[in-house]
């Protein structure tokens, strides 16, 4: 029995998701992110109550896929919108309306335009949600006792356990040196 007690401190504890530190100011959070990156941590995530451009920069996070998705969505809408009108008016149901050409390009512009907008907007919203992995009803950080404040006025830094440099006690000591308002271990 005593052997188990000896082995307990580092390995036998249940693995955790990461270590979460709470700050009350965006500048403190930015400082913490930069320190963590200097320390060599890479699997870090910040949680803020509103979008802060500098935080994404400090995390060295770039993602340019969304504009491309929206562009492709728009082009799809454009082609689909025109194709719908061309096929119905010229191929499937050609009917002479007041002598106008079957392929009335000018008259087909409004619907083509609206389809372009509709598809582009749908891809912007669905693309954003898909890239963000939402809807995601469960996430480990929701376990952290004070995390509900992230949607109010608190700023959180999470160093995740997947980071190669992550060491449960060492990382905790490092995070505590950043003088956060609170530190918590996040269970899975």
């Amino acid at each position: 029995m005593s052997d188990a007690a000896v082995a307990e401190p580092a390995e036998a504890r249940r693995p955790i998701y990461g270590i979460l530190a709470e700050f009350s100011d965006p500048n403190e959070l930015l400082h913490a992110i930069r320190s963590a990156r200097e320390e060599g941590y890479r699997d870090i995530e910040a949680y803020t109550p509103y979008p802060i451009e500098e935080v994404a920069e400090a995390l060295h996070f770039h993602d340019n896929r969304l504009p491309l998705i929206v562009l492709l969505g728009g082009i799809t809408g454009l082609v689909a919108g025109y194709a719908l009108q061309y096929w119905t008016s010229v191929v499937d149901y050609p009917i002479n309306v007041g002598g106008r050409p079957l392929n009335s390009i000018v008259a087909f512009i409004p619907v083509t335009f609206e389809c372009t907008i509709l598809f582009a907007a749908l891809s912007a919203v669905l693309g954003m949600l898909a890239l963000n992995g939402l809807p995601m009803p469960y996430h480990p950080v929701f376990h952290a006792p004070r995390f509900a404040q992230a949607s109010r006025d608190r700023f959180f830094l999470c160093i995740e356990a997947t980071d190669p440099k992550f060491d449960r006690d060492g990382t905790r000591r490092f995070v505590e040196r950043l003088v956060p308002r609170s530190v918590a271990e996040v269970d899975h």
Partner: protein
């Protein structure tokens, strides 16, 4: 636009600011979410909602009677086949335009003052489009066959005629409704997360939680979120212009005198924004007072909205002038008669009241004292709402009632069912609005957080 930016950035002692002094992340969050999460719903809300529900009941009865008997219960008859239904359709959809303008175009122009009014302006857009969309359907004669307007493979072997502006309308209005809904919902996601985290009731946590979709404010999520929001704004900007353009095509593509004019699209879009801002003002003034939100919707906002109204009102005035000028300049007998008929015909009192309401009275907005007075702005906004409704009445009815042949002239008088449907649709609009302000944050909380002084990021040398 530049002038507005500069004055918005002046320090508070110089001019009214876009957010009251002393606000913090916490105070902004608590104040706005309090309206929704409060245990005791204010009695005034029940009072307002019951009036709205009474009007909605009238709408339901009027529509029920219409479905039973047909459009004969309305005053429409040949030659005036487009009565209140089309007037109200254009009026409602025009009102919606200010919401998209505020949320999209002002975002692209980096007008920070939009932040505290965009949420309920967008809600107003949605509800106005919902009211607008009902009218053409009710006007169809057989509303239960409205799905025939949508292109789908059917056993009749037919397709809609895509050369018709009425089919363009179907695409424009449904796209507009869908995109507005998505824009509004995307803006709501972070605030729904706030409500989920702050709600004390189990049901509240569940419902807000489901719609927040697990939003947790991750920096990576915010980054993509901001990109998506900007892209949506960029997409919505041409959309909002196109929608009222397509609505104006319903008229401009026809050959009726007074409708067949190339000025219609820009003139309709300006009129839409004019009436929409008037409606935002009509709603914002009582709401800020009732819920004590004067720190968020400040006098600066009202002043800016008044300026937008003045500017768009002048564009509309130019439109009226050009209509009159072109009918003379065209040397077309029917166009000239149409204009004289507006000036002196049976509907002349309506024409002159619209000039009074839309052009003459709003000129008082040139004066700072009028723009500073909240009651004056409220009255002016109502005046413009009525004026813009009269404008649509004059456009639709005067042209149809007297076109080419005197033998086919006829007068249009609305019946009690026309009025019941119109006033009832205001009830539908108000019901949706009252439910919205009770259950969702009427001001974007996360965007307000970016405006408080705490949010300032100091540059740290790397």
């Amino acid at each position: 636009m530049n002038e507005i930016t500069e004055s918005a950035e002046r320090p508070p002692h110089d001019a009214p600011a876009i957010i009251g002094p002393g606000q913090t992340f916490r105070s902004v969050t608590d104040k706005i979410s309090q309206v929704v999460l409060v245990r005791q719903t204010p009695l005034g809300w029940y009072f307002g909602l019951s009036i709205a529900l009474a009007l909605l009941l009238m709408f339901i009865s009027a529509v029920g009677y219409l479905l039973a008997l047909g459009t004969g219960i309305w005053g429409v008859n040949i030659p005036v086949g487009w009565g209140f239904a089309i007037i109200n359709f254009v009026w409602w959809i025009g009102i919606g335009h200010a919401g998209t303008l505020i949320s999209a175009i002002l975002l692209l122009f980096r007008q920070q003052w939009r932040t505290s009014i965009n949420r309920f302006a967008e809600a107003m857009t949605l509800f106005a489009v919902a009211c607008a969309g009902l009218y053409p359907i009710l006007h169809l004669g057989r509303p239960w066959l409205a799905y025939w307007l949508v292109p789908y493979p059917n056993t009749m072997g037919m397709w809609p005629n895509f050369r018709s502006p009425l089919v363009w309308d179907v695409f424009a209005v449904t796209t507009y409704a869908t995109v507005s809904l998505m824009f509004w919902f995307v803006g709501l996601i972070p605030d729904l997360a706030t409500l989920r985290d702050r709600s004390e009731s189990r049901v509240g946590k569940m419902v807000y939680g489901i719609f927040a979709m697990g939003w947790r404010g991750s920096a990576r999520h915010w980054h993509r979120y901001e990109t998506a929001y900007l892209l949506l704004a960029g997409i919505s900007t041409p959309l909002v212009v196109s929608v009222h353009t397509v609505v104006s095509f319903d008229f401009a593509v026809g050959i009726i005198p007074g409708w067949h004019a190339t000025i219609f699209p820009p003139y309709f879009v300006a009129g839409a924004i004019y009436s929409g801002f008037a409606m935002v003002m009509t709603l914002a003034i009582p709401l800020r007072k009732f819920y004590g939100l004067e720190d968020f919707v400040t006098k600066k906002h009202l002043d800016n909205m008044a300026r937008v109204m003045l500017a768009t009102g002048l564009i509309v005035a130019y439109g009226y002038m050009m209509e009159a000028f072109m009918s003379w300049y065209s040397q077309n007998e029917y166009e000239q008669y149409m204009m004289l008929n507006r000036f002196r015909g049976p509907y002349a009192p309506l024409y002159w009241s619209l000039i009074l309401f839309n052009i003459v009275i709003p000129q008082s907005l040139w004066f700072q004292r009028v723009r500073d007075s909240v009651p004056a702005l409220f009255i002016l906004s109502l005046v413009v709402n009525v004026g813009m409704w009269l404008e649509r009445f004059v456009i639709v009815v005067t042209s149809l009632s007297r076109d080419f042949l005197p033998s086919s002239w006829g007068m249009y008088y609305p019946t009690v069912w026309d009025w019941a449907t119109y006033v009832g649709s205001i009830g539908l609009f108000l019901t949706l609005l009252f439910l919205f302000i009770r259950f969702l944050p009427m001001i974007s909380i996360f965007e307000m957080r970016t405006l408080v002084p705490e949010a300032e990021v100091r540059e740290v040398p790397e």
